[in-house]
Amino acid sequence: MEKQEYTITLYTENSIGMIGRISGIFSRRKINIESLNTSPSEVEGIHRFTILITESEEVVRKLCRQIEKQVEVLKAYFNTNDELIWQEQALYKVPAHVIAEKAYVERLLRQYGANVVVIRNDYIVFETAGHREEIDRLTEELGKYNLIEFVRGARIAIIKESAGFHSKLIQFEKTEPSQEIVENEFLDQQDNVFTM
């Protein structure tokens, strides 16, 4: 199966050591985490991890099952890029004189929708958010004009089809096991199975 970008979304308890616990599941299998973001979720007390990896679907599915086995993990989802709305943020520190002297740079920043964060005599800090490729292109262009410093944040993503975690959590708080804890594609493939 072909490798592609997958975004893994985890809902977890907010307990100490969760990043280590989760990242160990990847490193044990020698899978590189391309970006990792942790944040609160829409539900108080529930933490949200957004992890970006490039792997095949089979590997990602198995990974998510291993992650869900962790006691503190409530649910793991994985999605391809077309199932998500996602953003990455970047900060650029550019010499002030470049902006003052080069109209092209100013145009470039306008074109990419960059916003000014800080203005000082010696440098100006811009912020932009978007897809990786856009940020990479802007970085490349600014690189030609004495870009002093650049940093890009981890991917954050919203799942298009998701209804949020509130209703799921109610399910989890019930003592009986949940119906939806494991999904399987088998039910859709019955016709192929009974052909012996």
């Binding site: 308890e13 198995k62 099952r65 006691v71 989890f172 096991p177 399987n184 088998f186 199975v193």
Partner: protein, 579 residues
């Protein structure tokens, strides 16, 4: 006193809240969880708990092991024969790191274990204090759950959670690291509450009837169904449900190493053991059956051999409690998630009673080949030197298959798993997944405490015994009546076998010398004997079994005997070689 008086008195007295130290709370928790035996070793950072233990001597038996690795292996042995949670204590630093091998072993073999480790004062965490190690991070990948307690008020709820997690769903080891200040801290103890729900933890997936129905349909259509079962049957305490299932369906059933003893060896539908050194018939027939019904097993690579040639012709029904096992190695046609104690009866109700005796007979035909090529010679050798197989065979005759058999790792383990007879469940204790040499002796000690009325025979090689031989001291001091049967071939036999077969007989560091084991045992005040001749075998084994107390019997066996059949690494199970 009348009821009225009593009520008045109760009302009069303000509810007294008991003050306990963290250490006392730990021991109270163990008592509430029904723990009677602890395997442990004291040290600086766990001293408050040991101090409290001094006053709990009448309620909790503490077995002082000789090394923390021995402590956790003993806890594993205890868990395996008793079906309960095994408990081990260790101090911080080296005490805790010595647990790691046992934790990894318990993790991969799904043993319910709770380890309590001492830790330096919370104020010293991260300062490279004396005997400080980052135990939580070290043990994260080898525990089902771990947690560091720095405040005594957390202890009752954390311990309750630990026992709940260790023993439910797919069991596993849990480690609780308690800083010394928390052990010493006095707090208001409001009693112990059992844990029965953690919102982020689903021990059992709900059983979905549509899968059970489809599994039944698949099984009912099968001409050549074949059941393979693992430790899940034992962990789920579903031996009877399993037997009813295979008897109704008439299925041949083969076990994994870890599943041994779940079904009695003599059952007419038991067709032997799977895997690298398993029996010929079940390995070959894996690639012949049309429906493979896997129950409570995880398709380990030692069971499947080459995956792309494993049961490709078969539809696979996989029953497991752990969703992560479904499709992990072998793609399931129909997965049946759930506790097999629940799913097996549902499935049994839906399957037809079928006579598969002709199909079963095919297994027996292949078995005849194995008997002719391998088993007969192993059990009736023509040369003077003893074989491991004949030792186990005589042992079977003497125990009648009623003993708990504990093995270490290597050739003797595979031979024992192949030939040992089991009449009842929870009788096979071995390091299956991790293959931990040195497991045998301490696990046997724990196994005896878990089943003190049963004969416990530890079968160990000359290599493995030397890894944890210090535990003879534990036997000496506390009197576990463990029978130690050393099968000495003067080699690290399994590695030697591979070097012979796959490395042109270049024997590289497999020639291991041994001390006088009987003298060593005597040094620990344990009786023993050493034999090397066939005429002495039966009597020596009988003396060992009849002895009231621990006993060590060393049997010299053929130096360069190999374990066959064998599925060589990278080959298919159906390419199993008989010689």
């Amino acid at each position: 006193m009348s009821t009225l008086e009593k009520t008045e008195k109760e009302q009069a007295a303000p509810a007294t809240i008991q003050q306990l130290s963290g250490s006392q709370a730990v021991l109270e928790a163990l008592i509430h969880e029904g723990v009677d035996t602890i395997f442990g070793y004291p040290g600086g950072a766990i001293m408050p708990i040991y101090d409290a233990l001094y006053d709990y001597n009448d309620k909790l038996t503490h077995i002082l092991v000789r090394h923390e690795q021995g402590g956790i292996h003993a806890a594993q042995g205890y868990a395996r024969t008793s079906g309960r949670v095994g408990v081990a204590f260790a101090t911080s630093g080296p005490g805790a790191t010595n647990l790691v091998t046992g934790l990894a072993d318990a993790m991969i073999d799904s043993n319910p274990i709770v380890c309590i480790t001492g830790q330096v004062f919370a104020s010293l965490l991260g300062t490279d204090a004396f005997q400080e190690t980052d135990v939580i991070n070290i043990t994260t990948p080898v525990t089902k759950w771990n947690y560091q307690v720095t405040d005594a008020t957390e202890i009752p709820s954390v311990l309750a959670k630990a026992f709940y997690i260790a023993s439910t769903g797919r069991p596993g080891p849990v480690l609780i690291d308690i800083t010394k200040n928390a052990q010493l801290q006095l707090f208001d103890y409001h009693g112990y509450e059992f844990c029965n729900h953690i919102r982020s933890y689903r021990p059992k997936p709900i059983v979905r009837n549509e899968y059970v129905e489809q599994a039944a349909q698949l099984i009912n259509e099968a001409k050549k169904p074949f059941v393979i079962f693992g430790q899940g049957i034992i962990l789920g305490k579903a031996e009877q449900e399993f037997k009813t299932f295979i008897e109704k369906g008439g299925f041949p059933a083969a076990t994994t190493v870890m599943g041994l003893s779940a079904l009695e060896t003599d059952h007419p539908q038991h067709v032997g053991m799977l895997g690298m050194h398993g029996n010929y018939a079940p390995n070959v027939m894996t690639n012949e059956c049309d429906v493979l019904i896997a129950i409570g097993m995880r398709f380990d690579d030692r069971v499947t051999g080459r995956l792309d040639k494993y049961a490709k012709q078969a539809k696979v029904v996989h029953l497991d409690i752990d969703p992560a096992e479904i499709d992990k190695n072998v793609k399931a046609t129909v997965p049946v998630w759930g506790d097999c104690k629940e799913t097996l009866p549902l499935l049994t109700d839906l399957i037809k009673r079928v006579d598969h005796s002709k199909w079963l007979q095919q297994f027996r035909e292949l078995e005849k080949e194995e008997i002719k090529e391998v088993i007969y010679d192993e059990l009736n050798p023509t040369s003077e030197v003893l074989t491991m197989g004949e030792v186990i065979n005589v042992l079977n005759e003497l125990t009648g298959g009623n003993a708990v058999i504990v093995t270490d790792v290597g050739q003797h383990q595979m031979v024992t798993c192949r030939y040992a007879k089991f009449n009842s469940s929870n009788s096979n204790v071995t390091s299956g997944g991790l293959g931990t040499m040195g497991f045998g002796l301490p696990a046997a000690i724990g196994a005896w405490y878990g089943a003190p009325k049963r004969d416990v025979v530890a079968i160990i090689g000359d290599g493995g015994i030397q890894m944890t031989i210090q535990e003879l001291g534990t036997i000496m001091q506390f009197g576990a009546k463990v029978k130690i049967l050393i099968l000495n071939n003067e080699f690290l036999g399994m590695v030697r076998q591979w070097q012979q077969l796959f490395h042109d007989k270049r024997y590289s560091f497999v020639n291991i010398t041994s001390p006088d084991f009987v003298a060593v045992a005597k040094g620990y005040y344990i009786d023993g004997n050493k034999i090397s001749e066939r005429k002495d075998l039966r009597d020596a084994l009988k003396t060992m079994l009849d002895h009231d107390g621990s006993y060590l019997l060393e049997v010299m066996v053929g130096k360069e005997n190999n374990v066959f059949p064998m599925v060589a690494q990278g080959t298919s199970v159906s390419e199993i070689r008989l010689k």
